[in-house]
């Protein structure tokens, strides 16, 4: 024990230079006059000796080891950061942290206590107060913050503890069930409201007694007692339920931003302190009933806001429920329901008829048809058999399938689609950032007005000054201003999602309301993207024969034959394919040849005169002519083309009426492109054929200088242009690369959804403007009333949430997408 008592680490140099002896128990220096050279342990006092002996006698010596370990650590790490240390562990790292090529880390953290849009400002200020944090984006809807930081500069635990000190305890995003956090937040909120309500009620009752006393007389002692009681209750109310406002205000000051809790906290603080001063002096009015009622009402307002916000997010939330949460896993021949999280590639899954397929994978047993409408928008079921790929979110229509899992959850195609969507709700438009700045100016203006009001009323009527300043500060709470844009955008995105329009960012909505140039890709956008028979000329009896021959081939033309003509049961034999030319074979004992004019004419002995005409007609309208010959006799000509979708012309017409100029850019032959352009009512100058991906990108670039460019496309060849455009729109059936690059995904075919998107964004911007107008108008009027001394703090507190409420209702009620 001696060694422990006089360890070098425990020794502190005294002024004289000799090493001081430390108390064996408390590690404080033992006064040198008390050092007993003979004793094994040194104590600074009898108390320490007693405690030491008690601990020793109880066999609790472990305490000293624990204490030393404690003491070695820097004190800072010990308290706040300790609970976040786990975030730095390799296990957490490998599970949740993503690292990009530049060595920057990214993680999603679930935050508690995110209660209003103002929190977004605060949390997104983090990069300015903590070195090494590159980006913090808060997804308010779910309380999830995306953090990107430089691991060499700052550790995640430091970021988390900073968030904690701002009042938002952080958890790993998937570690805590979000619903639990919501429930806990709700419960805490309800307790706060209940306490605030009870206090407000009591203080109000006391206030009635005091007012009654003013009219009918009351003993000074009683008045004083009542005032003191309400003073105590009021400060309790501010310290507990009202703390949220002060915490918000302090955090705002710390980050140097003008937060809307600032004027609220100031209003409450001024009212309470002035009331307290009057109580102590025993003269003048007290404002405790107003202060407590304000806390109560503001909390209720905030709660309603929170509820509305979650309801508005429900539409987006629905998308997250697209795939089942469990899958039937087959292990050793036994099927077992397991959570989707436990599925790894290689697992064997069973999907029964009528079920949604839970994973991406390949069919290893069974044949069925699946409906992939969710993924491609194609509503006709397609048949799948062994070896075919199926995707999560597709519905298995006919019979049970056994599938070998390749990807589950986030890694599936639908998972990636959802991840895309996840980023959407809070990637905010420039107009939102403008709202932030606006709110900053607003708060500054309110504070200036408050100072002015105070000066004015100190001059006019000293007694009214505090009242009116409090009323002003309370009534101009800029909550409504803060939620005007985000709420409208969130609601619009949710509504659009329900209509099959997935919008990645709010800025897309904002850009789309300013007309510019729409560049349309041809294939799959204007046209259906697959070959169809445009017309058939010649003998009808040749149709079944041609179909029988073509049913053996997978060529797009062949598939068009199969789709167009009914199966008559005829089968072809001795089929010979000539790649790029056509096909020949025996059907019903006759030699049939179907193919390009050159291929068929090679063997043709007789050619009716109308054939050449028909070929020329097809070529002039950019269609592919196909000749059908029987026994060397040309009997029919069919024209194949990729037909323009029926809604295209009217959609383009509408877009132009909205003020957009429409261009077509395609990789196809210029003749084909201009034929399509003619059909949809566009002139030669607005169509560009034979465009390589680079050409498309350049086209976007030239128009981008002039204004908004909307690129609509579906393929990998459009991806770069989609990303470069102001708004990239991927259409139904698009390739994954185009989905990733686009800002909007239209899951319904054709161009009508594009029209709907533009209409919707126009309406959304309208809603945002109306929200701004309402909240600013409201604030101007109420501020004027408060400055004039017409409303008192209590009325102000009742009026305050009304503006937020009206904005929330306006945003929610307005038809942005869908209902026309």
């Amino acid at each position: 024990m001696l060694s422990e008592a006089i360890q070098p680490t425990d020794a502190v140099r005294t002024r004289s230079g000799a090493a001081a002896v430390m108390c064996a128990h408390c590690s404080l220096p033992v006064p040198s006059g008390l050092v007993d050279a003979d004793a094994e342990q040194q104590f600074c006092c009898n108390g320490c000796r007693t405690v030491y002996e008690v601990i020793h006698a109880s066999g609790l010596d472990g305490y000293y080891k624990l204490r030393d370990r404690f003491a070695d650590k820097p004190q800072r790490a010990a308290s706040g950061r300790r609970r976040y240390e786990a975030l730095d562990s390799p296990a957490f790292r490998s599970l949740y942290i993503r690292e990009d090529a530049g060595g920057m880390c990214a993680v999603d953290l679930q935050l508690e206590g995110v209660h209003c849009p103002a929190c977004v400002w605060l949390i997104e200020k983090l990069p300015t107060i903590l070195d090494g944090v590159l980006e913090t984006r808060l997804e308010m809807r779910r309380g999830i913050v995306h953090v990107r930081w430089d691991d060499r500069v700052v550790r995640l635990s430091a970021i988390a503890s900073k968030l904690g000190s701002l009042g938002y305890p952080a958890h790993p995003a998937s570690g805590v069930r979000q619903r639990d956090i919501h429930r806990r937040e709700d419960r805490r909120m309800m307790v706060r409201i209940a306490v605030a309500g009870a206090i407000a009620g009591n203080v109000m009752a006391i206030a009635f007694a005091l007012y009654g006393g003013m009219l009918h007389g009351i003993a000074d002692e009683h008045a004083a007692l009542f005032r003191w009681v309400s003073l105590v209750l009021t400060f309790l109310c501010l310290a507990w339920p009202g703390r949220v406002f002060f915490r918000g205000a302090i955090a705002a000051l710390r980050t140097g931003s003008l937060h809307m809790d600032l004027p609220v906290a100031l209003g409450l603080g001024v009212g309470a302190i002035w009331g307290a001063a009057n109580t102590i002096r025993g003269v003048g009015d007290v404002y405790f009933e107003s202060v407590t009622a304000i806390v109560f009402l503001l909390l209720i307002g905030r709660w309603i806001q929170q509820r509305q916000r979650r309801r508005a997010a429900d539409a987006v939330e629905a998308l997250f429920a697209l795939t089942p949460a469990t899958a039937r896993v087959i292990e050793d021949g036994v099927a077992q329901e397991k959570p989707i999280e436990s599925i790894t590639p290689g697992c064997t899954i069973e999907a029964l008829a009528g079920e949604t397929i839970p994973i991406d994978g390949a069919v290893i047993q069974g044949e069925s048809t699946i409906n992939r409408a969710l993924l491609t928008g194609e509503s006709a079921p397609i048949s799948v058999g062994v070896g075919d790929r199926v995707e999560a979110g597709a519905i298995n229509v006919e019979a049970a399938l056994t599938i070998c899992a390749e990807a589950a959850g986030q890694d599936t195609r639908v998972g990636r689609l959802m991840a895309l969507m996840e980023r959407c709700a809070n990637e905010r438009a420039p107009i939102v950032r403008m709202a932030d700045r606006l709110a900053g100016f607003f708060v500054a203006a309110v504070l200036a007005l408050a100072a002015m009001t105070a000066a004015l009323w100190l001059f006019l009527d000293r007694g009214q000054a505090v009242n009116n300043v409090s009323a002003l500060l309370i009534v101009t709470c800029p909550c409504a201003l803060g939620i005007a844009t985000p709420l409208a955008v969130v609601v619009a995105i949710g509504r659009a999602a329900r209509r099959g329009i997935l919008i990645k960012g709010g800025d897309a909505l904002e850009s789309l309301h300013r007309p510019g140039v729409v560049i349309l890709d041809k294939t799959g956008t204007i046209t259906a993207g697959m070959q169809q028979i445009a017309w058939w000329r010649g003998e009808e009896s040749a149709k079944p024969l041609a179909r029988a021959l073509e049913s053996e081939s997978a060529h797009p033309i062949a598939r068009a034959f199969c789709l167009e003509f009914d199966d008559t049961g005829l089968r072809a034999t001795e089929v010979k394919h000539a790649v790029g030319s056509g096909v020949e074979g025996l059907v019903d004992g006759q030699c049939v040849r179907v193919g390009s004019p050159a291929f068929v004419r090679m063997i043709a002995t007789t050619e009716p005169s109308w054939v050449a005409e028909a070929i020329a007609e097809a070529a002039s309208s950019a269609q592919t002519p196909v000749l059908i010959a029987m026994e060397g006799r040309i009997v029919a000509v069919a024209a194949f083309g990729d037909p323009v979708r029926t809604d295209t012309a009217s959609a383009i017409d509408q877009l132009r009426r909205f003020g957009w100029s429409v261009l077509i850019a395609s990789g196809d032959h210029p003749q084909v492109v201009s034929a399509v352009a003619r059909e949809v009512g566009l002139d030669e100058h607005s169509c560009f054929g034979a465009m390589s991906p680079e050409d498309k990108l350049a086209l976007v670039g030239t128009h981008a200088a002039a204004g908004t460019v909307v690129m609509v496309g579906d393929g990998v060849n459009d991806a770069a242009a989609l990303a470069a455009a102001t708004v990239g729109v991927a259409v139904q059936g698009g390739a994954e690369a185009s989905l990733a690059a686009a800002d909007v995904y239209l899951s319904n075919p054709g161009l009508s959804p594009l029209v709907e998107l533009i209409e919707g964004s126009n309406r959304t911007v309208g809603v945002i403007r109306r929200n701004f107008t309402v909240s600013i108008l409201y604030n101007v009027i109420s501020a004027a009333m408060a400055i004039a001394g017409i409303i008192n703090p209590l009325i102000a507190a009742i009026l305050m949430p009304l503006s937020s409420f009206s904005v929330v209702t306006l945003s929610y009620r307005c038809r942005t997408f869908g209902e026309k």
Partner: protein, 255 residues
């Protein structure tokens, strides 16, 4: 009284690193449990410190009573404010001894009171078998029994007030001053005062002398504060009693 309480609180706060060192072990015992369970830790802190508060207050009240008795005895002997003077002198003496010891002068320590260790040990064993909340409370209650010079110096201050209520008040102020350190020790912030640690004995000595001086010189104001000015003048008091039937009851004070 408020001034004295303030002085005691301040001294207690400044010197409480001693408490953290000495009682840290017991705090750890009392509130140690599941560190992740914040809610429980708060309850246990309340129990432990509540326990301390009870016995400290009792000690203060008893000391105040003793002081009152001393004052009475002093008055019989014709001495004014005997308790305050004695307490102040003792405090100054303690402080001086502490300073002398710190600078290396050998002054023998008072012998350890017999039996204290056994009582505290038994108490702790009793507590160990109880629920965490009760355990924390019992450990808190037992703290007062520890032969801590610092604690008993303030018990003497309490005696110096010569009034059980004020004595209790002084000890409550002392208790309040120790709170931050003892709560901090539970959350592992022992090095709170960093560089001051090595000067702890000297600081304690100076604080003791300061409070001693305060005890001696602030007594007068305490005495005057206790006196209701209306009753202090016999004529006015008699007048009040005689007119009591004419006075309106406060609650019926209609204008």
């Amino acid at each position: 009284m408020i001034a004295l309480a303030g002085a005691v609180f301040f001294a207690s706060l400044m010197g409480s690193m001693h408490c953290a060192g000495m009682c840290g072990a017991f705090v750890a015992l009392a509130v140690g449990g599941d560190p992740a369970n914040n809610h429980q830790a708060t309850r246990l802190h309340v129990a432990y410190n509540g326990g301390r508060l009870i016995t400290y207050t009792l000690l203060g009240a008893v000391a105040g009573l003793l002081g009152a008795a001393l004052d009475l005895g002093g008055q019989l002997l014709g001495l004014q404010r005997a308790a305050a003077a004695l307490a102040g002198a003792m405090m100054i003496g303690f402080g001086a001894i502490a300073l002398l010891r710190a600078s290396g002068v050998r002054i023998a320590r008072a012998p350890l009171p017999p039996g204290v260790r056994a009582i505290v040990s038994r108490g702790n064993r009793f507590a160990a078998r109880r629920t965490p909340f009760v355990r924390a409370g019992v450990i808190g209650l037992l703290t007062t029994l520890l032969p801590c010079g610092w604690l008993y110096a303030f018990a003497i201050v309490a005696a110096g007030t010569a009034d059980p209520l004020f004595g209790a008040g002084a000890m409550i102020a002392f208790w309040a001053g120790t709170l931050p350190a003892l709560i901090a020790v539970g959350v592992g912030a022992q090095k709170l005062l960093g560089p001051l640690r090595s000067r702890a004995p000297q600081i304690a000595g100076i604080l003791l002398i300061a409070v001693g001086l305060f005890t001696v010189f602030s007594r007068a104001s305490i005495a005057s504060m206790r006196m209701d000015p209306a009753i202090a003048q016999p004529a006015a008091a008699i007048d009040r009693v005689e007119r009591i039937d004419q006075a309106t009851l406060p609650c019926c004070d209609v204008e």
